[in-house]
Structure formats: C-alpha cells, structure tokens
C-alpha cells in the first residue's frame, strides 16, 4: 500500500474517526510526565515527546489486572472470566523500542505449554501505531539490541515526523485495514518518503551508546560467580525503579482481593520485581536470593543471558529507561562496562 500523509492539524480528525471503534491510548501528560492513557480528547495527545516514563506495556499488561472475578453463594463459588478482552485497542504514538517490547512480551507470554490468554487476546485486538525517533536520547541504545530508531517491524502503522506532517505507512495487514478506513489521507510524494529515510539515517548516526551484546552474553554465561557482582550491587539501594519502568519486565504477583460486604472478589495480578527481597522469600523463611548482589545479578542475567538461551533474543529493547531512572546512577552502561572489563582482564592474562 502506498504511503500516506497525515497533517499534524488533522490528528483530531484521525482520533475522532477511530475512537468510536477503538479504545484509543496515546501519550499524554500526567502530572508533568508522559504516560500512555486512554484519552477522551485529541488535544491530550502529546506526540512530540522523548519517551514515556512508564512504558506503554502497561496498556496491555497493566500494573494491576484482574484475572477473574468470583462470587460466593454459601459454599459455592462462581467464577466469572473477563469479558473485556475482546475490546479493540489502538496504541498511538509508540516509539519503536516500545513497539518491539510488545513483540518480546507476546513471544514470552506465548512460549511454552501454557499460554497467557489474557495478554495474548489483548495483543491480538491491539493495533500499534508507532512513531519514529527523530532525536534519540544519549541513554538510548536500541541499535545495539537489533533495533533502530525507525524500526517498523513490530508496529502495524508507522508514522515519521516530517515537520508539519506525518508520513503514514501501513506495515501489517491490520495496519492496512485501519488505513482503509481513513480514505481522506493524502498520498505521500516520493520526496516525503526520501525525507523520512534521511531522518532515519540522521537519527541512527546520532547514537552515542553502543554495546556488543554478543560479547556481554558470553561473558555473563561464564561469570555467574565473580567479584564484579559485588561491585555492581554496591551502590544499588534496591528500589525497583529499573524493573517497574522496564518495557520487557513481566514478573507479577497474584493476589485475591475481596469485597467482603458483598461476598465477592477478584483474583488480580500486579507487577512484581526481582529487586524486592520478598520476591523469592518462601514461607519457611528460606530465601534463595537474600541479598542485593543476587538480585542485581538476576536482573542483568535475566535480560542478557537467560533470555538469549531460552528465547534466542535479548530481553532488552534499548529504551534506556533504567539508565535514566536509577536514582543512584548505578546505570546499565556502567554495569556493562564493568562486565566487559572482566573479559579484557582475562584476555590480558592469556596474552601475558
């Protein structure tokens, strides 16, 4: 399908035509920060943003989510499954890194003998409209994890900011069907497509943070026990900013929440984090990961060692949120540097 153009002034029209059929999620300002929320007015959309604080994964995998509801009638329990999973969603203005995170999440939740129905159904009903990154941050490193500031693969429709207009491309079948509904969109000219490519190239060149993750994975596999972990976990205060703001973290806790007045309740899942000491604490009091050193290591190993060996890809999309969020500046770039230092040192030893 040919590329289209969307004038920035026409975002309102774009929204109002789609919001009847879809629940429309878009980046919007909430208390000074960008967050993906269901909006009720096109004016709320903030497309000119770096990236959201909380990743858009919380649209499909919200921090608190009902698994099922139940009612008590005497000793009988009646379980009611969720019915809102069939709602159609649009997630508008997602950065390519976050769009890629949806693919990682989808692969993860679909892997193995058991499939996470709740996430997968929602994912199936969601149309992702991505937007290219004209100016990636210094902390961004998506090009190191196989991504790109203009990567389109994981989106359904892709926008490129050309100044006054957006270049609109349908990437998937879902995206094509969506664009068919918007027949009023003007056709793009060749120059527009060229310009978008130019922007992509400029954006790619502006990356300053680059890693060789193949090497990182290799070093990690060999160095589960290494004094470097002590060093890495030293200044960590054990808050969970990095995991809660990570677009690929999927761990959750399951809790029953009761409405005792009405003999009903719901089983919910809420985000949990490997940085909390309660995460692995068993009722007997035994804790397999009792100290910060094990918990820090688990996060890094999970993303860059366990993920590659289990799912054959890195568990990281390079959004850089953990870099900017860490309150004590114990950030991923420094951690990776320290890990790679092991390799350099052992290399020296071999050559000597």
């Amino acid at each position: 399908m040919a590329e289209k153009l969307l004038k920035k002034d026409d975002i309102g029209k774009f929204y109002s035509e789609l919001e009847k059929e879809y629940k429309f999620y878009a980046p919007t300002k909430v208390k000074g920060n960008i967050a993906f929320k269901k909006i009720s007015n096109a004016e709320e959309i903030e497309l000119d943003y770096l990236n959201s604080k909380v990743p858009p994964k919380d649209v499909l995998f919200p921090q608190k989510e009902t698994i099922f509801e139940y009612r008590y009638e005497g000793k009988e329990v009646i379980i009611e499954e969720r019915k809102d999973l069939e709602d159609k969603l649009i997630i508008f203005g997602v950065r390519p890194c976050d769009a890629y995170s949806f693919k990682l999440l989808e692969d993860f939740f679909a892997s193995g003998d058991f499939q996470d129905d709740i996430f997968l159904k929602k994912r199936e009903n969601a149309t992702i409209i991505g937007i290219g990154c004209n100016s990636p941050r210094q902390s961004c490193f998506c090009t190191s994890v196989g991504g790109h500031p203009f990567q389109k693969e994981s989106t359904d429709v892709f926008l490129s900011d050309l100044g006054d207009t957006y270049l609109v491309e349908a990437i998937s079948e879902k995206g094509e069907n969506l664009l068919k509904k918007l027949s009023w969109l003007a056709d793009a000219k060749k120059a527009d497509v060229e310009k978008s490519k130019e922007l992509a190239k400029l954006a790619e060149e502006s990356f300053t943070t680059k890693f060789d993750f193949d090497l990182v994975t290799k070093v990690l596999d060999e160095n589960f026990e290494h004094p470097v972990w002590q060093e890495i976990s030293e200044s960590c205060i054990g808050c969970s900013s990095c995991t809660f703001l990570c677009p690929t973290c999927t761990c959750f806790d399951v809790i029953d929440e009761n409405d005792e007045y009405n003999n009903r309740g719901r089983r919910i899942r809420i985000w949990d984090t490997c940085q909390s000491c309660l995460y692995t604490l068993e009722t007997s009091g035994h804790n397999p990961r009792p100290a910060k050193i094990q918990r820090c290591r688990n996060r890094i190993m999970h993303k860059f060692s366990y993920y590659p060996s289990n799912y054959d890809c890195l568990g990281c999309v390079g959004c850089g949120r953990c870099i900017t969020a860490c309150p004590v500046n114990n950030e991923l770039r420094l951690i990776i540097d320290k890990i790679l230092e092991i390799q350099e040192k052992s290399g020296e030893k071999v050559s000597a």
Partner: protein, 339 residues
Amino acid sequence: MGLETENKDIETNLREIARGLLKDKKVDVIIGYMEGTLPMLSQPIIIDSEEDVEKLIWNNLCYVNLAKYLVPRVPKFVDSEKGNLTVGVVSKGCVGRALIHLASENKIKLDEIKIIGIPCNGVVNRQRIEMEIGEKEILEVSVSGNNVIVKGKDFEKEFPFDEYMNDLCKTCKIRKPPLVSKAPDLCVGECEEYSNIVDDFSDIAEFEALTPEEKWNQITEELSVCTRCYACREACPMCYCNLCFVDQNKPVWFGKTTDLPDVFVYHLIRAMHMAGRCVACGACSLVCPVGIDLNKINRKLEKIVKERFNFTSGLDPDVLPPMVDFKMEDAQEFMLEED
C-alpha cells in the same frame, strides 16, 4: 561569591581531609559522591585508597543520603577479619543528622564512623527542572553564580537556584552536620553546634489552611501516579526495617495494588513511621521515578514534632526519639472531653 566557587572550595577541602584521614588510618573507607554519568545525577562511591580521593566531588546534585549505606552496612564496610570498619561519611547537614539519629536508635555505633562535615547549600530539585524543561533532553547541567544552567541540543535555560532548590533545603536550618559535644572525635571538617532552632513553618501554612476536601484532592492527585516501586522507602536512611509493614503477609494488612486507597495508606503509614525521625534530606522525593513530591508531608511531621514535643531529629544521640518517649504533661487537647 557564586555557588560554583563555593562548591569548588568545599570539594578541595573535602579531598584534603579525606586524604588525611586515609593516610593517618583514622578511617578504613570513605563513602562520598562522584560525578554521575547523566547530567542531573551524582553517584555514591566508596574509596579506600588515597589515589581515589580525586574522584570525590561536591556539588548541588549530591542528593543521596549516604547514611543509607550504613544501615545495614554494605559488604564493603565489613572486613572478614577486622569486623566493622571505620567509615568516613561525606556528610552534609542531613546526612550527619541521619547518622546521629540512627545512633540514638542504636542502629550504628558512632565510634565506628567519622562524619566529614561539609556545609551544604541545598540540592537542586531535579524533578521540577526536568518537568519544566519538558520533553527535551538535558545534556548538561552546571551551577554558576546563583543559577542552575541547563543546556540541551537547541536550548539553554537558567533557573534561579534559590527557587529551584529542593523544597526541604529551602527551609533547612541545619546545613552543616551537628556537632555532638559528648563525642568530639566524631566530626572532622565543618560541623556546627545547634541549639534553639527556630522555624515558623510558613511554607506549609497555605496547605494547612485548606479544607479537608481540598487537601484530600491535592494529596490524592499527587499520589495517583505512584507505581509502588518503593524507591522512597529504599532511599530513606530511616527505613531500615527487615520487613516493611506493606510487605507483611501474615496477615496481609494493606493491599499491594496501585489503587488509590492502597497507595494512600502506604504513604500515610510511612509518614506515621517517619514522625520524629525524618531528617529532612528530601531523598524520598528526589529519587521518585515519577516525581511525587513528599516534602510537604515531611515538613508537617517536622512541625508536629517540633511544636508538640520540642524535638528536632538528629541533633543528639543521647536523647530518646519522641515516639518512644513520653511526658506526663504532653498536650492532649485532641482528646474528647465532656462539655
């Protein structure tokens, strides 16, 4: 004299003292701040050799309360043979207060630490600046004269430091670590003895005058974005419980969800636990990944404790904290009485 020269002087002094302490073996390790990798941050660092002293810095972005690393002690502060090492702590006023208060709660022994006092001008309220800059990337931050200068790709903005200081620093009366007369060896560098701290708490008067409904709306709006990551708790030097009340699950006291009632209760009870203990370092607000401002609550606590029990936390390790103490004549005007 501008802030940057002041900071530079402090930094030079600090390095001098640190070098001396390490050389004379008065301390085994020193915890301080080093340059961060991002413009608005600094990084805690632990050094044990004289060469590393040059890594120590001091500026208005050093907001982490280093007392956090002493309760419980990080592994580097404990030697497998010698046991607890003597730790030098680079202390602005609130870090010193935290250490002294922790000593009054018997959590640290003052003879195992050395407070390296430095006079603090306050720290930059990074969240506020970030929010005002909005969706542009900050590439460089410097303090010059009395301004914080923030530079990005195609912008440069100046913020008056007095206004863009962390709210708790604006009202801070204890900028240097308190001198403890009974333990003169404790402090090196610039410390000061404090008595009769006068504070009118005018900064929260406006909020206090609101109706309950208005207060509720403002507070709940502030808390509505909380993700329950507990960064506030983890950065707080006073939050050292092995098992926090929100984590207790036998029985479960309070919900763990991000629904408003649960978030509200978390912050309310955490505030309750901070009464008479908060040392006004503001770390809880400055570390919040979504920028929740808890300063008002901390100020209110300070006010209650000051007015009711005439107590200021972290000045004297031998005074009992107010919440474990009592006086027969404590005010009880809030009790129900027959008309």
